[in-house]
Assembly symmetry: D2
Homo-oligomer: 144 residues x 4
Amino acid sequence: MSKYENWQLSKASYPYSTITQTRFGDMDLLGHINNVAMAGLFENGRVRFNHSLGMASLSEGERWLIAAVQINYIREAHFPDDAEICSGISRIGNSSWDILSAAFQKDRCVSTCTTTLVLTDKQGAKQIGANLRAALEQQMVRIA
Amino acid sequence: MSKYENWQLSKASYPYSTITQTRFGDMDLLGHINNVAMAGLFENGRVRFNHSLGMASLSEGERWLIAAVQINYIREAHFPDDAEICSGISRIGNSSWDILSAAFQKDRCVSTCTTTLVLTDKQGAKQIGANLRAALEQQMVRIA
Amino acid sequence: MSKYENWQLSKASYPYSTITQTRFGDMDLLGHINNVAMAGLFENGRVRFNHSLGMASLSEGERWLIAAVQINYIREAHFPDDAEICSGISRIGNSSWDILSAAFQKDRCVSTCTTTLVLTDKQGAKQIGANLRAALEQQMVRIA
Amino acid sequence: MSKYENWQLSKASYPYSTITQTRFGDMDLLGHINNVAMAGLFENGRVRFNHSLGMASLSEGERWLIAAVQINYIREAHFPDDAEICSGISRIGNSSWDILSAAFQKDRCVSTCTTTLVLTDKQGAKQIGANLRAALEQQMVRIA
């Protein structure tokens, strides 16, 4: 039933990393980081990763949408420890791609996240152009 | 690449339903319900579904944890429309089970969510007992 | 030190009311509705109140900004009980006005909120026009 | 109508400071930090300030509750800039005290916050003991 592989739990597998603070409000009743709050931490790491990709690679009128998010909760995550969010590209399709992210606290992986994005314009899903494809290819995860 | 099946988009497939209001704060920059906020809507529907299961079926010292959440974003969701969150059990394993949920606005499915829960006690994952299994079996999704 | 008056604790003092659901995620560690989450409940009630005011009363290029929010936490608020958010106008100044709101659970006031809004255009704060002033005056709180 | 004084806008007035990251999810429709999200930033800064106070100064069975929060929104706040949250004690009463906080982005004050806390035990509000009072007195704001 395991939904992730061992290499995904290692920081060395990801080309990009950013530190995200946890907040008091991320905790739920049980005193650990809530599962929805973890989705927010991943969103924050992903936004900064996308910035780093230079989304100037998008053409006029294009934008991407989130089609799917899959999160595995591996260990309890805690406040006030920082979360290091590592990210890389794990799949490039015709009009969509996957960002694989992992959250670390005290250097142990607490959670992984796969986000599927789709490139769109007003007509709907759109083929990934050469510039964007090149930017994505430079940030692939490293599968050991 | 589609991560859901047609029967999942129909309310008739789910034994349980609850209305959840959307909030102004659920919207993001783009003016639609943010993907993390949608995870919060599903959490809320799932909590009410779990209440309905009579989790008195748990024995002393047992609790469940969320092991994984997978969400598909199918259509843009909007404020201030209510979201109807339908839920049912889609898998019962040895120590874990899946809740399948779908969010509807104006009777169209905007998003689906699969949540994997694991039964635990202080020793870790634990076999699902007869009472809990019976409660889960009464709330299975109906695959048309 | 009391920062509210008795009439503020009565639903009859407010011309407008809307029911807002509480969510699982509104609870904090202590098991009651978190103080920031309560601010979100008030925001939601206020947005719906503003809609009811027919903000078509605004002229082209005008918008309002929130200048201040003051919340009193009077009783612990609980999930999954609904919160009834009542609102009315409690002050109309030259370019700003106050919305007074109160949150009720099981018909008891759990919290009050005063929000100060300022009318602005590109030049900054702006005098309230006749249409907006008339709309605000029709929704004054009733001080018993 | 101004609800704050000039000295409150200066970092030098506060004995404690902590950096809080803003998150993508803190933005609302208008593209600036939402007013409720700002309340969350202040909560986070306050929690860390309270830790620094050594709340070991509390006796067994005591806890404090938030009685009131008053926030002034002075300038638009932005993502992804960090927010520096400065805090100090601005009032010590019989059983309650005020924490005054200010949020800075790029060294300019964007918002101030006054939080009133009440010391309680099972009987309700309780007189502040000598240890807690001494801890609070060491962290007073400096009114220029």
